[in-house]
Symmetry: C2
Subunit: 463 residues, 2 copies
């Protein structure tokens, strides 16, 4: 046994009771909304076969996947295969010989695998949510961890844009329930981006174009122009792009302008039509006129990195504190194709729980945590008081009240410090006076007030 | 991208929506009870430094720990250290050079590490619960998985036997809330086992003795005798052991007999005294006389494998189906010593969630799952009905009712099959007749009954 000072792997965290109460507040709030919209929870294993994950996240992503060493004599396999340790210089080649499992990198690929494996037992459209940790061997930094939670909801097997509209409502409802007031659900459509590339006459450069305009927030129009020139766009192209990128006005204004710009491109008009339909659904579901819908903003510069998106894309930003996106998602037409199940369309969103945590902390929006911990501590000064306390303790718990008896006789100061540290709002004090009068003294730890309460009235008082 | 048929690593599982509802029922029930007794939730990372885990579970345990391969050029380190791949035949020697992290094997060692690392911010006694998966590279078999959940509660920094008594109540209350009726919380004390070894004059053989008598259930007294003889006990020793092992009668009868047998051993009497105090606490907390306490049974053959236990030990068995123990735990006097924090006593219990799942399934004790999923499906036959449905959908959700609109027009049969598959109890049918009368038809999917309901009365009807 080592008696070294213990430590945690870098990029990982413990969560203390007060942090867990806050984290659970976020998860529970989001879960409640997911369920209200018909999404059901699933879980997948932390480890997947390495070949399920490899090749799904690009070369950079593959490097960040945590691989699990095979158990037992893991060197037998490379030896059998004639792997030449002395000659080989590339660890990568060895990986598949000594590792066949890895920790999941996101919830999307495991979900696609789940759908393919369970396709015969599932009823489509299949609406699932999943809140589980994922692992990435990223360089840890402020706000970026090697183990963190994702909160995803996806529906597969339905092309209806009602789903997109409901995700707008799910974001709105969940973020409001978390206490946020000023946030924007940015909406765009990959087809509009395709249309733009088409009218400029550079459809092959769509990826370079979207990557560049996605940076408008960070590097401004000059920066975007510079990058576009480097990627093979001309000054004339950029002049035609500018009015689209710098689109101003309300959502409906933007759509009107876009329709004019994109009138010659079928795919572009289809993208506009899809956004209009989403807005129409949101309008009917909220009872707000299309021009009055809150928290929804069309943003043509929004691209989202992932190449599997094919229709509407979302990204959510809070306007109350400086913070990257706190959520995002979109429609994909062929997620399960990688596992041999073709043509299953889907759309999904994700909440960035760790960032939402930081936002709520900064805005002081977490509700008072006391409600969720112990409500009453009964003090313990001697055996007589303890015996007097035990039935009271049972009575409180039988009424569903979280209660503790300090487990040994100790100084009042120590017991009060314990109550303080655990944020326990009430302490019951029992001395000889209380015992002889069949009462207790209840101390409110917030106000400091003390009050004598008869045994028979304790549950009413503290319930 | 591979288009191979996907599969899961052996010993791991997906959980579908209906399984998750059942699993959450178990977790939530146990959590509610933990909280009522003042236990607060923590979480620790899935991965720990390899040296935190190594040497804590014995040689066999070490082999079952899943190690994570270092990221990047993991061969650099063994090469630098001059590891000779051609000459070395033992994978073990290489592990520490290419792996520095591992998946947690249980929740106990991470908890000890947590307490030591956070000792200055924690208030003692520290009562925590933790419900997270653990990983073991065991050979998978029926009921044994490589990833499974543990549900642990522990209190450290309190030697009061009130804690042990409360664990008896926590088990009782949680198992009853899960619907179990006939179960036994077996109670023993390591000090009694020490006392028995002492009076036989074989204190050095205590481990062999406890291992043997622990098997009484499985191999009977003859089997136990045989094993004891092999381990160096004499026929005379066994004759003296027999009455202790085969102790009959009520808890109080057993204690009386034990006191007589163990009167010459201080440690043995201390063990009896501790059990008596636990029974006394349970009696005062439940209002039952010591001889009337339900679900608690003294079992002198109970040993529990783990060597760190020093006082009371628990094991829980259901008597309604054949199943191994569904929970266990005990008092340990030096859990954090392995990380340099000495003399911190603690006691803890664990619920075997996966086995409890199997028991509830077999006894058909899971509550109707419908309550937790979508409550109402609104059918969708054409655009007109859809437009009529959207405000109804919003109305239901605003009232907190989980509701879905079938996202596209489809045949009734298909929509009904969807409602059936998701266990949705009510379907709202909307045709031209309903629309013109400002009504809907509500179909109860359980009884098949249909009823016309006015728009204004839907929430009342379905809420």
């Amino acid at each position: 046994m080592s008696s070294n000072k213990p430590s945690l792997p870098k990029g990982t965290r413990d969560f203390t009771p007060s942090e867990m109460v806050k984290r659970n507040f976020i998860y529970d709030t989001i879960k409640t909304v997911f369920k209200k919209y018909g999404y059901a929870e699933i879980q997948t294993p932390s480890m997947e076969n390495l070949q399920t994950l490899t090749g799904k996240y690009g070369d950079e992503g593959d490097k960040l996947i945590f691989k699990i060493l095979n158990s037992g004599e893991f060197l037998n396999e490379p030896k059998k295969k004639g792997y030449d340790f002395a000659a080989e210089n590339n660890s990568n080649k060895l990986v598949s010989l000594i590792s066949e499992k890895a920790l999941r990198y996101d919830l999307t690929v495991p979900f696609a695998r789940f759908v393919v494996m369970h396709q015969n037992e599932l009823s489509f459209p299949f609406k699932r949510f999943q809140i589980q940790p994922v692992w990435r061997a990223d360089r840890p930094q402020k706000g970026r961890y090697r183990e963190f939670y994702q909160c995803d909801a996806d529906v597969v097997g339905s092309e209806s844009l009602l789903n997109e509209a409901e995700f707008v409502l799910i974001y709105t409802e969940a973020l409001k329930a978390l206490g946020l007031k000023d946030f924007t659900i940015k909406l765009n459509n990959r087809k509009i981006l395709s249309g733009i590339a088409e009218i400029i006459g550079k459809p092959a450069l769509i990826v370079d174009m979207t990557v560049a305009i996605d940076k408008l927030d960070k590097i401004g129009m000059d920066g975007v122009s510079k990058e576009l020139l480097e990627k093979g766009f001309t000054e004339a192209d950029i002049e035609r792009l500018k009015p689209v990128i710098l689109l101003q006005g309300s959502n409906l204004d933007k759509l009107r302008q876009l329709k004019e710009v994109l009138k010659a491109t079928e795919v572009g008009l289809k993208g506009i039509e899809e956004i209009e339909e989403v807005i129409s659904y949101v309008s009917k579901l909220t009872g707000s006129a299309p021009e009055d819908i809150q928290h929804l903003g069309i943003d043509i510069t929004l691209a989202r990195g992932l190449n599997y998106y094919t229709g509407c894309i979302f990204e959510v930003a809070t306007n109350e504190v400086a913070m990257g996106s706190i959520g995002g998602g979109g429609r994909y037409d062929d997620l399960t194709g990688m596992f041999g199940l073709k043509d299953l369309t889907g759309v999904g969103v994700s909440f960035g729980a760790d960032r939402i945590y930081d936002v709520l902390e900064e805005l002081n929006l977490f509700p008072a945590s006391t409600v969720q911990g112990t409500k009453v501590l009964i003090s313990n000064f001697d055996k007589e008081a303890e015996n007097y306390a035990l039935p009271i303790l049972a009575q409180l718990r039988n009424a569903g009240i979280a209660a503790e008896l300090y487990p040994t006789s100790a100084k009042l100061k120590k017991q009060m410090a314990y109550a303080d540290a655990k944020n326990i709002p009430y302490v019951i004090l029992i001395g000889s006076e209380e015992i002889s009068a069949n009462m207790v003294t209840v101390k409110n730890m917030l106000t400091g007030e003390q009050e004598k309460v008869a045994l028979s009235a304790i549950v009413d008082k503290l319930g």
